[in-house]
């Protein structure tokens, strides 16, 4: 039994890393623009599907991954320019609906480009399982874990140590004040969408050898990433990472110990419980509403 639990934990952390990356993307955009981007899951799907398509077109895997990521970044920038910017100052409900519309639109594009079939990438370094204590780990899981740790460190360093990162944070705290000290808020917004799309695409490419991707793959991933961001307290990037890991482990434990069919329900029951008892997430700030 302890061995089985250890196995669940390993699998859960792999799944959770993915949710953490998607959640991080949510937090980035939310911080810069107060918008929850419901198309975040579609960035993940686009990254995976584009990499798969480029690979089968004959590009080597590393090049396919880079091109797919850049293409998704371009989509993120276009989304900001043509859907978010024109609706500046819209209500929360309006921006939610706009990004849901964008998500459906991107799904529609993927459907036209790649059809309804499921695709996957070959593992980056073979698929011989590695034994680790009593559990087995796929080499791809190690890629996911390693890359997540790296990306989280990069994002953290970016916000804490670089001028650009601090400027982005300043926009999150107070847009008018940021503008007043000479930060180009418009450019910062685009930066946030580009970064977030890139993060999403990388997550999609990392996970593509483990799960199958299709034009619909982003829906559940996006929702889980959003859950991670909400559980962690929206706008708190490290909270989103913690929320993602927690959600992944819980989900795998629930699937293993209770029922695999109910795993999505278990994840969302947990999210609802968190919201009912901590309405601003586990690591969120309690902010007084401005009247």
């Amino acid at each position: 039994m302890p061995e089985q639990l250890f196995q669940f934990l390993v699998t859960g952390i792999t799944v959770g890393s993915l949710y953490a990356l998607v959640g991080l993307g949510f937090a980035l955009i939310y911080n810069a623009s107060d918008v929850v981007n419901f198309a975040q899951g579609e960035f993940v799907m686009l990254g995976a599907m584009a990499a798969i398509a480029l690979l089968s077109a004959g590009l080597p895997l590393p090049l396919a991954a880079v091109v797919a990521t850049l293409a998704t970044v371009a989509v993120g920038l276009l989304l900001e320019r043509f859907a978010i910017e024109p609706a500046a100052g819209a209500s929360v409900v309006a921006t939610i609906i706009i990004t849901i519309g964008a998500a459906i639109f991107l799904r529609g594009v993927a459907l036209l480009l790649w059809g309804k079939d499921f695709h996957s990438l070959p593992p980056f370094s073979g698929d011989a399982p590695i034994r680790l204590g009593g559990a087995t780990v796929l080499p791809q899981s190690l890629w996911v874990l390693g890359a997540t740790v790296l990306l989280v460190i990069v994002v953290r360093t970016f916000f804490n140590r670089t001028l650009l990162g601090k400027a982005l944070l300043a926009c999150a705290f107070n847009r008018t004040a940021a503008q007043a000290v000479g930060i180009n808020v418009k450019v910062m917004l685009r930066l946030a969408y580009g970064l977030s799309a890139g993060l999403g695409a990388l997550a999609g490419i990392l996970i593509a050898p483990i799960t199958f991707s299709s034009y619909e793959a982003g829906v559940m991933l996006g929702l889980k990433g959003f859950s991670a961001a909400i559980v962690g307290g929206i706008g708190n990037p490290m909270g989103a990472v913690a929320g993602g890991l927690l959600l992944g482990v819980l989900e795998v434990l629930g699937a293993g110990l209770v029922s695999s069919g109910y795993k999505d329900a278990i994840a969302f029951v947990f999210v609802l419980m968190v919201l009912f008892f901590e309405p601003t997430g586990l690591f969120g700030h309690k902010v007084a509403e401005r009247v």
């Binding site: 939310y30 929850v36 859907a83 024109p86 609706a87 819209a90 929360v92 409900v93 309006a94 939610i96 609906i97 706009i98 849901i100 519309g101 964008a102 998500a103 459906i104 639109f105 991107l106 799904r107 529609g108 594009v109 459907l111 036209l112 829906v219 929702l223 959003f226 859950s227 909400i230 929206i234 029922s259 069919g261 109910y262 999505d264 329900a265 969302f268 029951v269 999210v271 609802l272 919201l275 009912f276 309405p279 601003t280 997430g281 509403e289 009247v291």
Partner: protein, 317 residues
């Protein structure tokens, strides 16, 4: 009189259309489907448009209404009318229990909670196979029996659904103009200010949440008996988003706007069936475009534009 003029006009149209085009698929069958969508959209609009509370899981109440009715009438042999009433009661109680903790949340947290609720209900419908029939759904649901008159055949169903739709519209129009309706609009404007004026905002929000869920359950129960078959796919996240689209398309905070949005989207979907692969593309683009360029909704926007034009031209005369 003027307040309900739109309702009378719609009632007249509902009667005249099948006389002009009897046996027309688009009037009788698609029309009935549009009627159910109107009930759903008008209910959701009370919550979104008037109280300003987003719900991305409204299909859950639609599904719970449908399945309660379906399970009671097939597995327990309840008469269909009793099953309908029981499904309203069950969903009403459930909505009332959920209202307080859910409506305490705001903005994105509320969106998350309603989304989560919708997904949980959908997962349960798929997984609780011994009750719901799982992904294959439940079939053999008996038609509605209104005190000895079985509702059988497309034209009869058209009549029943249209009557239900007009009833819901009438209730909604009256609710909006009642004290509760004014309290709701105050909540939408500023919840804090409403509280300062002595509005029990928690109570007002709970009431509208329950009413909105009841409308959805009503539509669900009618849908189950009309189709004689239910499956989880009719109540998933996509349906919740479509319902939001109807409300937004027509114009939030307008009962007739929501109704027009529901009718327009129903017929649009019928038309788009031909372009199956492009349906998503068009649906997504439509949502974005309406929200960016006409945030008050297509019908409300056009209505206001027409009003301006009318005033301008009458001034010239």
């Amino acid at each position: 009189m003027m307040r309900l003029a739109g309702l009378y006009a719609l009632a007249a149209a509902v009667v005249v259309l099948p006389i002009l085009w009897p046996d027309n698929y688009f009037v009788i069958v698609v029309g009935a489907s549009a009627g159910l969508h109107v009930i759903l959209a008008v209910g959701l609009n009370l919550l979104m448009g008037y109280a300003g509370q987003i719900s991305l899981g409204h299909a859950a109440f639609f599904g719970l209404g449908a399945y309660t009715s379906a399970i009671l009438s097939t597995r327990f042999g309840w008469p269909s009318l009793a099953a309908l009433v029981a499904s309203l009661l069950a969903v009403g109680v459930l909505a009332w229990l959920f209202a307080r903790p859910i409506l305490r949340l705001r903005g994105h947290y509320l969106a998350m909670a309603t989304l989560g609720f919708g997904i949980i209900v959908h997962v349960v419908l798929v997984q609780a196979t011994q009750w719901t029939g799982g992904p294959d759904g439940l079939s053999g649901i008996p038609p509605l029996n209104l005190l000895g008159w079985p509702v059988d055949g497309d034209l009869q169903w058209y009549g029943v659904i249209m009557a239900a739709m007009l009833l819901v519209l009438w209730l909604s129009l009256n609710l909006v103009d009642s004290q509760v309706g004014r309290a709701l609009r105050a909540v939408h404007g500023s919840e804090f200010a409403a509280q300062m004026m002595g509005v029990d905002t928690g109570r007002a929000k709970t009431q509208v949440f329950v009413v909105s869920a009841l409308f959805a359950a009503f539509a669900g129960s009618l849908f189950a008996h009309q189709q004689a078959f239910v499956s989880p796919d009719s109540f998933n996240l996509i349906v919740s988003v479509e319902l939001v689209t109807m409300v937004v398309l027509g114009g939030m905070a307008s009962t007739f706007g929501a109704a027009c949005g529901a009718i327009a989207l129903t017929f649009l979907q019928q038309g788009l069936v031909v372009f199956e692969d492009y349906e998503m593309l068009i649906h997504g683009a439509l949502l974005m475009a309406v929200m960016i360029f006409l945030p008050q909704g297509l019908f409300v926007g056009l209505h206001q534009a027409a009003g301006r034009w009318w005033r301008a031209s009458s001034r010239r005369l």
